[in-house]
């Protein structure tokens, strides 16, 4: 796999994982506020 391909897949994975993290943190925040 080339560095470019790796960058494409890594960026997608990080973006989705970030979204999951933000989703969980936001859910807890709104539940408590």
């Amino acid at each position: 796999m080339t560095a470019y391909a790796l960058a494409l897949y890594a960026v997608s994975a990080i973006s989705v994982i970030t979204a999951v993290g933000v989703g969980i943190a936001s859910w807890r925040f709104y539940r408590d506020n």
Partner: protein
Amino acid sequence: MNSIDLLGLLVYFAILIVIGYRSAKKVSGSADFAVAGNKIIWPVLFATLAASFLGGGASMGRAGKSFDEGYAFMFAASAFPIATVLAGLYIAPRLKRYTNAQTVGDIMAHHFGSSARLFTGIFSLVFCIGILGAQALAVGTVFHAILGIEVSTGILIGMAVVLLYSTVGGMWAVIQTDVVQFLMLAVFLPLTMLIGIHDLGGPAALVERLPEAHFSIMGDYSVGMFVSLFIAFLLGETLVPPYTQRALSAPDSRHARIGYTVAGGFGFLFYFVSATIGLIALVLYPNITPDQAMPTLIRDALPIGITGLVLASLLAVVMSTADSYLNSAAVIFVGDIYKPFIEPDVSDKKRLWIERVVNLLIGIGAVIFALYATSIVDALLMSYALWAPTILLPFVFAVLFDLRCSRSAIAAMLAGALVTIVWKWGPFDLQAATGLTALIAGVIANIAVFTLVYRLFRAAPDIGATSHVQ
């Protein structure tokens, strides 16, 4: 559009309206409407800030530019995420020293007095309404590109939803809808990119089918042009009112610092995704216009069911920017103009009521401009060129070095504005004659005059400065 896709879109709108309705219960005073009661923890702050600055330009605009020029524009534009990371490390944490501050004008008033507040307030208001009008146009364009309905109908539908939730729910609704919108853009735009890559045979096929220059850092730009673009992105939109308002919404400096810095980091990822979508569109649809790169890929390459969700994500990108500027415009009008100069003793209850009415009126005004007078939107957008040469640097100097000299700030703002206007819209082509863009010339004038006048008058007493610092 398939009925399943349409259902996805309707569900998205319904979620936004429900959030607005539920948020209304949380808004009991002006602080709730403007800065969500200073309760926004860093993951939420990060999501709302990212959703705000990742608008039509960072998505469809960036895809169109890479369709045309390759990754070079993305590299130049990466100066904005860099500026956001720097602001997160050095400015955002310091903003929490200003107790009860809700606007850039509050902080300018503390350091430079009431004249600087008025200048900042009026300018910020024009700036926010201009961007809001442009985003309203972008909402209509997305509807038109994907659903084929009239741009004007798209503007009315999209902005009606934004107006509804932002007027009743204020910053609480804006932040919560921004989080929903962030989740959508963070999931579905990378998904669009991966599906597009798969359709054309993988990353290697993309590299093989495009010229090498499309993957280089500077592309066809000269060094001077690249540096000018880089500086424009470094300063042009940094710490504009809605972004500063996000830092002021944090409970303390730690949350402000982490939220701001992580949002800057995410900007790099998003720019890469948007630019890659433009390159994919260039291979799959070489005969379309650049601005259609992202909408065309979404409409034609995605499977049924996903299209509606990705369209909703694209609308989310634009609407989350529009709601932020709308809320800021209302808060600025009341905080920097109405309260200090018209009714200083206004009660909190009345202030909240005025903010809601102004939010509604500004939103309706922006829609009318977008529908019937795009030249007014263009005129208001001229203020975009003036943010960095007028307010940004006095604001940054004040926050970093605790400078207090109203004369230096006012003189620097006027000098920066004058030089930029003459450079950009004057009768002579000064850019060609000097090699300096209007923004760089304006920023140099701004810094030079600020420094000179500060050295001359720094011992002079402040004029009408107000205290917000704990």
